[in-house]
Symmetry: C5
Subunit: 305 residues, 5 copies
């Protein structure tokens, strides 16, 4: 995720880091060159005049903007839903930590609640690793007792298995009469919510916006931009390349951003900062058990992973 | 569902598998031929000049794009709600499995929780078969004891009858004092959610977008595209067929995709992968009882059913 | 509700049943005649030329399409919320039936749970009759014991009184020690949901989209269509009537559909099939008590009430 | 709220009562006069020709329609959320009444549940008075025992204090062993919902759409309409006043409606009928205790407050 | 937040306080000057005519309006979600206060419930300070016992630590047998909601709209406005500066408002009045314990912080 303070309106016109411009620059350059060629040839192609004018481009450009708006909305909703799910993860792990610390009749500083909180942290990291398809082993080793860590490493749905582990912790607490049925039910409800969070993340990660949409809009944007110089060369002359590139910049960039936001759990510049959020969850849960918070490193180049 | 990695921006312009282009190709070809005839006849029809120009097409094209955007939105929302319901099914069956395994006082590896988890898997498959109007018998035989499988085969609302079965399992567990009233209530709440999921799926499958909308927009899109060449022939000349087909491609394709997404539980290329999701639910639930996960076969031609 | 399979794209252009065309046909015919007169008079009116051109119609047509899109959205949301409420009714009555059959300690085939399920069915029908302002007596007589049926007939908020009846059933079950406090609470929660459903339906039925909106948009659509021929007569000549009627068809039809969907509980062609849904709820609840399902009659002319 | 049956499409064009036309009429008349002056002066102003044409008005008119659409949506959402909150109030008070009548072990016709239902009615009216900033004294005197009514009159957050009163009723019921802890919790949950409803209403009443938005859009709409005649006078001539007033009617009226709906709890023609809804809640709750329903008076001039 | 009564439609055209005009005035002035220069030079730049016309500006202006509409929506949703979260905070703290006062068996005017309510107030202020990055010490000292205030000052996630404090209060109440397990669970559920509120606020404060979006739209709006005078100079002549500044006013102002609403917890004129809301929560909670309400000071210059 790009974290950058808003500059004043003038400086913001020239910002590079965090803008999508560097990424789409080569494509725009290509279009700029093409436009110059079109102007130079006065819209002819092998001595055949390409007979186009702005009318169909106005009609279709607005339609395209509408469809792009739809794609944009859908992508942003996915991004924001991903963020909400990780927000819910924060809330729910905090609630479960509070329950572990205050619902039962454990003596102050008992080991069991702290073990439960370690499960919550390991759960968070293993969900992160599952979503990013990275290896969870190091984090599991760091956070869990060795034998359990090894068990979890060998299963496929790691966060779910950790949730079962938490369910068994609650069952033991019940059997040891540290909590009663009602307190068990209170834990159980928050575990249900954790299950909803895992499934919600898997849903976003596993079901993209229908591929056909992406292809159709991608294609339409690029063909449209390609034809633009032919439509405007007669009326705009040597201004054609500038105007065409400006319009194309917005359309192409919006499509590129939408494409990036669609999968919010990746490592692209605008994706969610799962690493930072995992560390924050670890910090806030540990602070509840009395440990001081280790502040996060500052982002490099405005980017946090 | 089409599962295909995003290509780079250039290759994606020429993708065929997963695009809706092959499906709408014949209609576009027809329009292309018509446009050529119109240009050839210089917009006349039996020596009568069809007096049209771009103005009404601009006005109406944008209006049409708006209405198509509405239809698109509604269809995509249905698709996404269908996906959310199956996501909720995953979450809820996992929660119920966890409850069966950890809420009561069954000894480790007892048979009862495993039987309950089989109910959950059978429930998932019978919901899939109901939504796709396919025969559930094979899956019921595979997953349930013979007598119960036969009972369920003969009822009309199979998932509901399996839920009643689960309700009775919970009742027996209560009578055998494996769980108390409070734990029973925790099960009961998750069964309520299962009921909401079944009903939600039935709602999507049984109530399409009002038929009148579909007819109106379908008709408007096609008449509009049909009239387009007459409107542009005078100003675009021999470019008319290309521009008209390009505009029509986007409009017709969007309408076709919207039509497909509207019924997300079918077998069309962009419909939800209910088969794969059912297998995934089976896998994750079985893994909770200690069975290893069987990985899914790779999709053929980027398509999974 | 119109239930009709999607035809192929070509046949769908000529569908009549289920289209809104027959309903708006007279108005369009009127406009067609007016357009011909305008062309015949070359846009003059009592020898005074009406000086109009497409520019203001483009500007305003697109604005109008936007506002119509808003109205459409709001109407469709109401339609879909109505459908969701009836879906929730299905889910919730099934959940309550399951609770009546499996939560308590009634012997198999006891009369009490079946009586409760009869309450649920009577509740469903009385809600339907309240929403459609039809007489509930026949259904109440059919479903309830005579004395209770007579009591309910005389009250104003029938579904609510049946809910109180269900509350008393639960209270009796508690006093007879068939259920304990916790199971009572589980019933109570689902009764709360029933209460939400009744209120939600009453809200949709009692509070239309603000009347002022409907009037404003209705008026704007019709005046716009009326002025259209004057705007296009100079540039389109004898094509004016066709183009104007085509544009007007879409605008007028969309407004008419929006108007119909706004009140989803009526008997118009696109309204919800409350009759069929009530029968379905009756069927699925009775099947849970062991009765076989009576299949629904096929729709006549694609319409089910 | 305006309650008026939909007329047929033709009569609806001339409806006055319930239309916003009378309210915006003076402004439109002003604009009409201005337009005539502009046409008369052929777009000159002190012998200086105001050089304008339709192009910028098309561009900006559509942009304006978009922004107005946004404002409209936000206002309508507020209106509908207000309605939903009062719907939830109906549902929740009914649920609480059902709980008071059937959850505990009070004898039939006991005084306590009836007293609780009186609290619910008084709560409803005091919320209405708070939202409309009217005096609640008469209703409190009518509904509550004198001493309690006096206490409530002197506090600032009346509905909240009545909720505390209900909490104490539940506490007494618990102490008198009419209900147990679990039934107390069922009441408590519905009281939580009541608290959400009060807060939701206060939120809508206290936080309007940001004032800056309202000012910006208001200003833009009026300046736009004011400039319109200059833009169209050259091409439309004496038709200018008609077209300009027609366009302005829609824009100005939409802005005026949006402004009215934004504060749904007031007394403007399109605001919510809080009086009628409060009486309905009173009626339905009293009917549950056996009292017959007093039908509402018919609306005067299609308006109910 | 700006709190200002709506003026009549005419006066509202000239409102300054609460309008965004003063803030964007310098930029508009710059553009006005530029436009005059462009008209003076008749669109030439160093004797080279900039060949532009309105066509591409119409096309792109509408597309831009659409994208701006999207940004606007997203920002307003964030603003409104922030408001909803603080509304939920009000509701939930009231519910918890009611529970503290009426759920348990404390004697009237016991000290414990009042201490709990002090925690709720301190929680509210510490959340406000965290969101605004201000120092919470003064409020903590004012509201909490000295030793606890000092503990809280030293932790990083202050509201969460106060929630743990509340959890321990509930635990003590349970151990002292003032409440039983079920009442404890009722508290616990509302504490879960508090946790959701904190996390929701942190989510809004920590995850802005993707920076790339803001940069792209900002840039597009300003370049568009900068090019506008060149596009209209030929057709509008000396009217160019007026029309261009008018269009730019709306676009630039909308972008500026969207930018401001995006971060609703700040101190900008349109941000949420967290100070006032915190005082209101304090007031309403204290009134429940019998203290009279201190009315808020009137806003200065229509602004409350």
């Amino acid at each position: 995720m790009i974290i950058r303070k808003k500059e004043n309106w003038f400086k913001m016109l020239f910002v590079m880091k965090g803008s999508v411009l560097p990424r789409v620059f080569p494509r725009l350059l290509l279009l700029l060159v093409l436009s110059f060629l079109v102007v130079y040839a006065r819209g002819s192609f092998f001595h055949m005049k390409i007979q186009l004018n702005p009318a169909p481009f106005t009609l279709f450009g607005i339609a395209l903007a509408l469809f792009l708006g739809f794609r944009n909305n859908a992508s942003y909703d996915r991004f924001w839903e991903g963020r909400k799910l990780w927000g819910a993860l924060l809330n729910d792990t905090r609630s479960l930590a509070r329950q572990a610390l205050t619902l039962g009749v454990y003596p102050k500083d008992a080991a069991e609640p702290k073990a439960f909180i370690q499960f919550l942290i390991a759960f968070t990291y293993s969900l992160k690793h599952q979503l990013r398809r990275t290896d969870a082993s190091a984090d599991l080793d760091r956070l869990l007792p060795a034998s359990l860590a090894n068990n979890i490493k060998n299963v496929h749905y790691k966060p779910i298995m950790l949730m079962k582990e938490m369910g068994e912790w609650v069952q033991r607490a019940k059997q040891d009469e540290k909590i009663d049925s009602i307190q068990q039910a209170a834990f159980d409800e928050n575990l249900n919510k954790l299950s909803d969070i895992v499934g919600g993340c898997e849903r976003l990660a596993g079901t993209p916006i229908p591929y056909t949409y992406s292809v159709l809009l991608h294609r339409t944007v690029y063909i449209y931009c390609l034809l633009l110089p032919f439509g405007f060369v007669d009326s705009l002359g040597w201004m054609t390349p500038i105007i065409v590139t400006f319009i194309a910049y917005t359309f192409v960039a919006l499509e590129a951003i939408a494409d990036e936001l669609e999968e919010p759990f990746g490592l692209a510049p605008n994706d969610l900062a799962l690493d930072a959020m995992s560390r924050m969850i670890e910090n806030t849960l540990l602070e509840m058990t009395g440990k001081p918070v280790v502040p996060d490193a500052a982002p490099t180049d405005y980017y946090i992973s």
